[in-house]
Symmetry: C4
């Protein structure tokens, strides 16, 4: 963008200190990676998506681990709006990167959370480029992207479906109960959770997507809980699951209610049909 | 854009003086900011939007204050057209910045008005970048963006809803009767009026959005009048409100008529239903 | 676009002569403007649009004047396709610039014709930038853009509606029977024919749009003939109108048939209604 | 994309080795063209399209000729997703270039195959620019693009329709039974198969599009077989057609079934009409 001038006033003559424009993909470091000093960290991505499964898990980890925010990401690929908080203050849409330095047998973590994915197709690629950049700057050795896998009906028994960018990782993950089903998901994995795996593959970073099976109709803490359980086992994380568990239980009640309503509706339709209302 | 050549004629060999292309976001200064010499000015944005509330207020201020035009903004993000004036002359769509040097206790003003907002999502970000640039070039200390808040039904008693990028500003604005309702607007603030607040926040410029509550069905000078009243009080402005007041009164009559028509229509439907026309 | 390399082969090591990529807006000069040596030429634009009025006139002028092609314009903003000619050869979509050196009292001409306008909103601005560049390279003093003005019903007596970027030009054109109606066209002038006027205004080049009034339902040589007649008078052009006239007459027959059909249809509907088919 | 910093940490101070970002059009050479050393090769393009005709033929050639992969192409213009393979590993969408060095009278080949065409209009132009680049780097003398020509109904006797960027090529191809029908395809040739011909024309590379006539309703190996047969004759290729032939025969059975079903449906409709169900 040029700030042009009419009538011969060149822009350079307009004295002003340099400021920071909001770039198309604007990655702002609050702390230098080498200051943070992580040791072969694992990256976890949990952005909004189907059932908000990934977001629920990653947000939970950030909170429970009291992870430290080190990066803010703004982008022209997010919706052109601000959010309004409860108290009337506004908030620019952004994604954030948090870090957690482990003090036990679990690995150091780099956690990517946030408000939005790209709203344009090309934007997805530009944002994923930035995510992979960040992973490399922190020396990330492995990436887990989290998401939901919507099956279009209420889920009786949720489980975690996987996909990975290396066979070795599939074998390893299978041992933790993650399912790898022949050619599932059939339509591929769309958005950041998928593209990160692809871009990481080109960079030689092992990466897997863990998808909690969900209806796809609503935010699903129960499915998120299933993904969290697997992550805890795999990474030896020492985090409480209580908060998510509680939400999951509330949801189970909600689902039970929905089921009842559905059955009642079906019943009603049937009797209406018997009475010949629809002909 | 390259102006290429076939058969070995390099573009440099085509003698022509340099001209000014219409850039993607083309900010043309008619006067240097330091020539204007404003003192800690307040910026007011009033571009087209819901009920044209913001535009009505900002245009009114420019006219009543006889503000001076200092910038024209053209952009590829506006619709690809020209407007035709009453006399048959055309006009390129543009936004404009006017300045007003105060001679009393009111602050100096930088007023952003114009024909359009961006028609693309990414364009909103590029234009808002330019608006914030301009604010910084003039040393703006505070920004008020003006807009309408559509509630989808005729408004009995209009009032001004607020959102701001700092808690301090919310407290200050509350004293002037601006309402900050829990989590309103629920969908966030879309377009320039919202994004300016977000971008200003990143630059450390205090900023609030003042939204006149309106139906959202039509241009609403009554709602604009409510916003203007608040601005006058807050900024100690010495401007007549007559012109806007008159339009507001005309509109009140119109709304009364609409209300009557609505009631008549409802009445008609009811009697039609009684007569069994719809079954 | 980067032509990247895997495994350390830098692109520079891949020996290949430079070629000409198809740029986003790719203006290819077949002849240098100073070789052509036009004297204060008038530019005429006639690209596809409503009723193909502008295109019909400009193509007619190129043919009748045996104008010489001096520029080809390719663009990523055209549809991603090639056209197939009668003999099976393909043709890349392009716009073209022709020049005509006058030997009488008419001015030298620069004529812009072609296959497409931009299919994206931003592309319109980039292409119009190129058209204005070209105008300046040839020293164009005045631009006439040609188009149709669709009124949504069959036109009894066609005429030419105008809009211009200077009052002086409006006065001048009025003398040739071009009509300037209060605030018409109400929706502004969309696309190249409008934007050229706006961009030319910013560059200080006088410019007007001549719109043949037309139904907007079909290609309209009759409306094109009206525009051509005005141009001939104004520019003192020595061109036959026969070819366009013939097409216009054929069209008048077609319109007469359509009118009859319409009347018959209306008649049919009326009698159907009388018979109570629609209730 | 800028990797910006807050609070004065310039990006240069963040030590990290350079990595390879995924560019908008990302062409990765696995082998240098001069290492491959092809002799006046013919390029064949077979990307996904109508009936997957082109893709079926090109994939078949790559497999039967055991061609060597020399380039991978990634792009922001492909859908923002990864594909999931049968074993749960993911795959980044990509197009690929294979080479075949001939040991007989057939020419050396450069074969372009892959997962996707551009999903945006402008992306088609950028990708085709890359394809032409590649052709030039390998010294390609002639390009055949392969596709399907959908006629919207089941095809009794398939044949190959052609279009070319030179008259000489049309004459030559006619001798092999390729049909050049007056003004067909009427709507032009959309996508890579068409644009490559246009861009090649501007570069002086002879090029033709061979379109297998197909219904357009389904993947059509029978139509692909017809295109392959012509290619084999023209280029003197020594490849088995068995695999494609088998798929074509299976398809013929499928089409026979569809035909029966269609007839049965028509029959049903007719009898329903006789019974007066639709009135």
């Amino acid at each position: 963008m040029k700030i042009g001038c009419i009538e011969g006033i060149p822009i350079e003559d307009i004295p002003i200190r340099r400021w920071s424009m909001l770039e198309k993909v604007d990655v702002r470091f609050l702390k230098k990676p080498e200051e943070v000093g992580l040791k072969e960290p694992v990256m976890i991505e949990g952005l909004p998506g189907i059932g908000h499964v990934g977001k629920l898990v990653a947000d939970h980890l950030v909170k429970e681990l009291k992870a430290e925010k080190v990066i803010e990401i703004y982008s022209h690929h997010f919706p052109p709006q601000v959010m309004v908080e409860e108290d009337g203050t506004i908030r620019m849409p952004k994604n954030e990167v948090y870090v957690h330095k482990s003090t036990d047998s679990s690995p150091d973590l780099v956690i990517l959370v946030g408000d939005f994915q790209s709203i344009s197709s090309e934007g997805h690629f530009e944002l994923v480029n930035a995510y992979i950049d960040i992973a490399k700057k922190f020396g990330v050795k492995r990436i887990f992207t989290l998401g939901g896998y919507g099956i279009g009906k209420l889920v009786e028994e949720t489980y975690v479906l996987g996909a990975a960018n290396s066979k070795r990782l599939i074998e390893e993950l299978s041992a933790y109960g993650i399912q790898f089903e022949k050619g599932e998901p059939g339509g591929g994995i769309i958005g950041a959770s998928g593209l990160i795996l692809g871009a990481a593959q080109l960079e030689g970073i092992e990466s897997a997507c863990l998808m909690g099976v969900t209806s796809g109709y609503m935010v699903d803490p129960k499915s998120a809980k299933a993904v969290l359980d697997v992550l805890i086992k795999m990474l030896n994380l020492n985090v409480s699951v209580e908060a998510l568990d509680e939400r999951a239980k509330e949801m189970e009640k909600l689902v039970a209610q929905i089921r009842e309503m559905q059955e009642a509706t079906v019943q009603q339709w049937k009797s209406d049909e018997d009475l010949g209302y629809f002909r």
